[in-house]
């Protein structure tokens, strides 16, 4: 913990609704503790705007501990900002220097329509998963858990893929706005477990066609998705998806 204080200028994309035009507006902030998160600095800005009779900035957030996946916007052109493996709610001001200027703008992708300011609609992700991103098992009839043996390494790999939080950074960072990393992670998770085998081919085809139907682009191996993923999900999952069809 530090007692220093920072001055930052936040240059934020303001757009009241999808129908109205948007523009960048700059807001200087003073005496910020480096122990605050960037979202807490936005809270502070919003309190000031409210008291000055201006409309506070809309941004998505909820758990503020990096796991719900609700938060996310571009900070100086990078999804979730400059810190590796970090969602924007876990980005602390100690990583910035006094006098820095930060440009905050929403995820840009056709499949993620803008709602207001930094907030976008990512429901396309759920529609893609609904197309088959699950194991079809009814409640109450499951076999004994230890009847399905899963090797430790395999369980760990499945876990690594399953830890995707659905924040959408991969889409925002991709020049094609592809959702390949998101889809490949879900396919990889279920394909590594015996439970996921029976529907594997069908699932893969269904998710990939749902992804295209939602307006996400194709993968062209830029690897920007993996570089910005707050959960460090590897682009190898995309190769795996492409190999197994």
């Amino acid at each position: 913990m530090s007692s220093a204080s920072l001055r930052l200028t936040l240059r934020i994309w303001r757009q009241e609704s999808p129908r109205q035009p948007g523009a960048f507006v700059s807001y200087p902030l003073e005496e910020l503790s480096p122990d605050l998160s960037l979202l807490e600095a936005l809270d502070r800005l919003n309190e000031q705007l409210l008291m000055a009779g201006e409309r506070p900035v809309s941004f998505d957030h909820d758990c503020r501990e990096g796991i719900c996946g609700a938060c996310g916007f571009m900070v100086n052109g990078q999804a979730h900002g400059p810190q590796r493996a970090t969602s924007v709610c876990q980005l602390y001001l100690r990583h910035f220097r006094d006098g820095n200027k930060l440009t905050l703008e929403p995820w840009r992708a056709r499949a993620f329509p803008l709602q207001q300011d930094l907030s976008v609609d990512r429901s396309a992700f759920d529609r893609v998963l609904a197309a088959g991103g699950y194991v079809s098992v009814n409640t109450g009839s499951a076999p004994a858990a230890n009847a399905l043996l899963v090797g430790r390494e395999q369980a760990e790999q499945a876990f690594a893929a399953a830890s995707c939080i659905g924040c959408g950074a991969c889409v925002a960072a991709c020049p094609n706005a592809s959702a390949s990393l998101f889809v490949a992670a879900k396919l990889g998770h279920l394909a590594l477990l015996p439970q996921g085998q029976p529907e594997r081919q069908r699932r893969s085809a269904a998710l990939q066609s749902a992804m295209a139907a939602e307006g996400f682009g194709s993968c062209s191996n830029q690897l920007e998705c993996a570089a910005v993923c707050p959960k460090e999900i590897s682009a190898d999952w995309i190769s795996r998806m492409n190999r197994s069809g």
């Binding site: 913990m1 609704s17 503790s33 480096p34 122990d35 605050l36 979202l39 807490e40 809270d43 409210l50 008291m51 009779g53 201006e54 506070p56 809309s58 957030h61 909820d62 758990c63 503020r64 501990e65 990096g66 796991i67 719900c68 609700a70 493996a85 970090t86 876990q90 602390y92 207001q116 990512r122 429901s123 992700f125 759920d126 998963l129 609904a130 197309a131 991103g133 699950y134 194991v135 079809s136 098992v137 409640t139 109450g140 499951a142 076999p143 004994a144 858990a145 230890n146 399905l148 043996l149 899963v150 430790r152 369980a155 499945a158 876990f159 399953a162 830890s163 939080i165 659905g166 439970q195």
Partner: protein, 637 residues
Amino acid sequence: MKLDPQLPSGPIHDAWTQRRRELPLISPINKRRFKVLVVGSGLAGASAAATLAEQGFRVTLLTYHDSPRRAHSVAAQGGINAARNYQNDGDSVERLFLDTVKGGDFRAREAGCHRLAEISGAIIDQCVAQGVPFAREYGGTLANRSFGGALVSRTFYARGQTGQQLLYGAVQALLRQVDAGRVELLTQRDVLDLITVEGVARGVVCRVQASGRLEAHTAHAVLLASGGYSNVFHRSTNAVKSNASAIWRAHRRGAAFANPCFTQIHPTCIPSGDPGQSKLTLMSESLRNDGRVWLPAQAGDARPPHAIPEAERDYFLERQYPTYGNMAPRDVASRRARERCLEGHGVGPGGRSVYLDFSDTIRREGRAAIESRYGNLFAMYERITGSDPYAEPMRIYPAPHYTMGGLWVDYNLMSTIPGLFVLGEANFSEHGANRLGASALMQGLADGLFIAPATVSGWLAGHLHTEVSADHPACRDSIAAVQARIDGLGSTSGGHSCDSLHRQLGDTMIGACGISRHADGLRAAMAEVRELELAFAQELRLPEPRAGRNPELEKALRLEDFLQLAGLMLRDALAREESCGAHFREEHQSADGEALRNDDNFCHIAAWQWTGEGQEPTRHCEPLHYRHATPSRRNYR
């Protein structure tokens, strides 16, 4: 108000099976005629909606999130309990049942606790079948670890992200039903009122966040699975938007609110640094398996931790509780930490933290072992505090976490409003005055996967009502009431923001109704809350317009409910003249500072009835009976 818990008769070991045999069935063709509304998409809500849809009911699920995957169950770290005895350490359904009753300090119903222990095994089977990647042994079988308040290893886990993995399993099951057209998923909606017709719950009113439009949704049964209310403390381990509105508005419509003052304070949270901090982050209790809690023996010792020699450290939990040591239950560990800090031994800003030190384990087992067990938690800690927990001890302090209070429900999970069921953390059941680590996820899934699907179906079998359409007078009245409330909120020139009032409420509540409570403090807090309510009514500042997207308005609607609920929590804490579990009344403690229960006068559930705006609520009691577990003083020494 009559509180009939609908407890099963006969031996407890067969009670749930017996109840399921007795519940009437509905033919598959008729199930399609029934519509069920579920509020909340966490473990309880998502799994209940999926299971009821799978059975053939038409289900609508409402959530304030943009995706069901964001529900705060996602943040649970440590694990889920099940009595499987995989480790051959003597665990059994009976032992999990007894631990649950004891962990709740004998303020939960025996029958409910037994059912929870009984169902626990099937939950693990179901989750594994759904593809939840639990930790495994090299041979492929499931791994377990141990948790606070228990002497066996019965906790199933997925690294430090168990809640996330369980929630994703439940949400995938839900999305499968969405795809099949059996669940209508409505996101970004705040539920603001309950609709009742002739005393029966028939729907809810919600506000669409994007447009500000109010909608009435109707059904044959309403299930609230909207989570806990720890955000009444402003800074808690809850997500920032977690709220009490759905249950509070149902309370105002006649649902009894049980044990509101029972809030679990979790001992291992990252302490707050700056006043502008928005929330507190929990560090899983499982860390206490390998971390040792200590403070400088000398009060006011300002040396950095590594400069304090072993002989000048006080491992106070190990000293005071030789049997459980660092694994002493949450309420006990929290109280002891607070005491030591108040006596001047605390470290960090304001002396409000204790050390959680891993250096012994790192020396003994190596850094890699710690990394594989808690890697993500350590990374999270470093990210938030800027300090490396592999190199120096973590600093932790207790914070409000899980609420044991909630809407009163009977054994079938039905509230005092017929047709209104309450699941998971939103109800009061099972945990008593406290809860065991890793049993909240178990309750959410037990309620959603197994209990509600049986009991809701059983209740509907006898209540084939006619459809209530959205233009029914009851719907119009509820919408009008909500609209009037929104129109009456705040002025554009008021001097208080929602956040500033919420912070003040939090300060009042944590001081008077947190780890420790006493009568004078509770009375003073009641007066402070009344003043805050006045400031809210007269001096709140809200931006226009009230139509359309307006996150400040969403906050205001939540805060108004928290202010009212805070008053009830303080009343409940004042009325309960005993110490039990997380409720510690300073007037009631033993000579060595342990909680003193009063079984003669308080072996009951307190259920509060709303009597009208500005009126004193009425306190009702449901007596508790212990036939299988003998109420004993909890002793972890």
